[in-house]
Symmetry: C2
Subunit: 237 residues, 2 copies
Amino acid sequence: MTKNHFNQKKSISTFSESSSGNFFSYNPWLLFFNSNKISYQIFLLQPNDIILFDSRSRLYIILLGSLIITKVFKSTHKITLNLLTTGDTFGQLELSNDNFYYEAEAIGKTKIVCINYNTIIKACSNYPLFNLFFVNHLICCSEKAYHFTEIISHKSITSRLVSLLLLLAEQNGTQSNNGIILNFAMTHKMLAQIIGSSRVSVTRILSELLKTKLISIQKKKIVVHSPVLLSQRILNK
Amino acid sequence: MTKNHFNQKKSISTFSESSSGNFFSYNPWLLFFNSNKISYQIFLLQPNDIILFDSRSRLYIILLGSLIITKVFKSTHKITLNLLTTGDTFGQLELSNDNFYYEAEAIGKTKIVCINYNTIIKACSNYPLFNLFFVNHLICCSEKAYHFTEIISHKSITSRLVSLLLLLAEQNGTQSNNGIILNFAMTHKMLAQIIGSSRVSVTRILSELLKTKLISIQKKKIVVHSPVLLSQRILNK
């Protein structure tokens, strides 16, 4: 369907006892799955790899990395609905129909867990603590969807881009001496796709922000020097 | 805090056995609460009544009517984050801080149930079927948040307004001989607030849609004659 259509061959491992000692076993989901012998799969996505949602039977958990969730209308256009990062989940959307389908596109290298939705529901009824964890997780998901709505509610592209940079700094930034470094390099094209604009506009706005020293670039990553000063570039009519 | 700040005196009834025979007892939430003797309160909101979220300790369930969820920045402006209707819930958002708070504003007459969040969590652990219902409900909530993001992702106000009318027709419309009648009268000011525009712009766009016979007004309610024709007014750059 698309060139980079997600390929099952990219699976790097299916859960086995031997993998339980690695970094990701400290992830709350994996800790729970491992200790209760619940099987799952781990996939590694490369930048621009795409997962198509063709059924709501699977839940995907992002172990590390970022994806954008897009609604693709078969006739004309795409709408970015959310930006997901480490710890977020997806897959529980309505099915595609004749007019549209949903896809998730990796921004950088992304590691995800895939599990049958029925397994999650069964785990909820068998393990009350996991159930509480899952309910709280779903509530956090609605909150995060609102953060994205906030970005996209701006009509001005500058305001959308500045809001996006502020959200990325808050959710995926590392504090350094001279500001907050965004944890992944993102192409201008990708930024444009997220905020519903063109690459040319994004390049123009970023140049302005660089010129006024509100941001800088370090090893291909954006550094936000002061979130307060940057937020003043948001135009609130 | 606001003039129409939601007032506890507007409570019309606290659950009692005597009220279990009315229409709302067929609501799945109330059926469950009633049959398990779980106590809750019902409130009636008038148009423009506002509920402020000052703690995440309560869950509100909309029995009938519609509300808009707004993030209010104490300094400057408001952002509408979602439009909720019959069957939706709210209240599970992060607390306000020094910069902002959340509010829910009734569009028309709205009947809501208020219940302690702890009661819901306790019910989830005691009643597996209710738990499954609640998890599915939360998943539907994320889907609905995406519907709103879709409206607001348009930069053009005409496209935003047309998308909103289409969503309202789908979620709150009644099919009649000459089209879909939206189930509540909404002021131009309210429509403007939802899509982040001005009353003047909304009035101008609605006049255009009336003139081109894409919509008409019947007893103060908007009638969408053909969703397909109307959707062609959305500008997809």
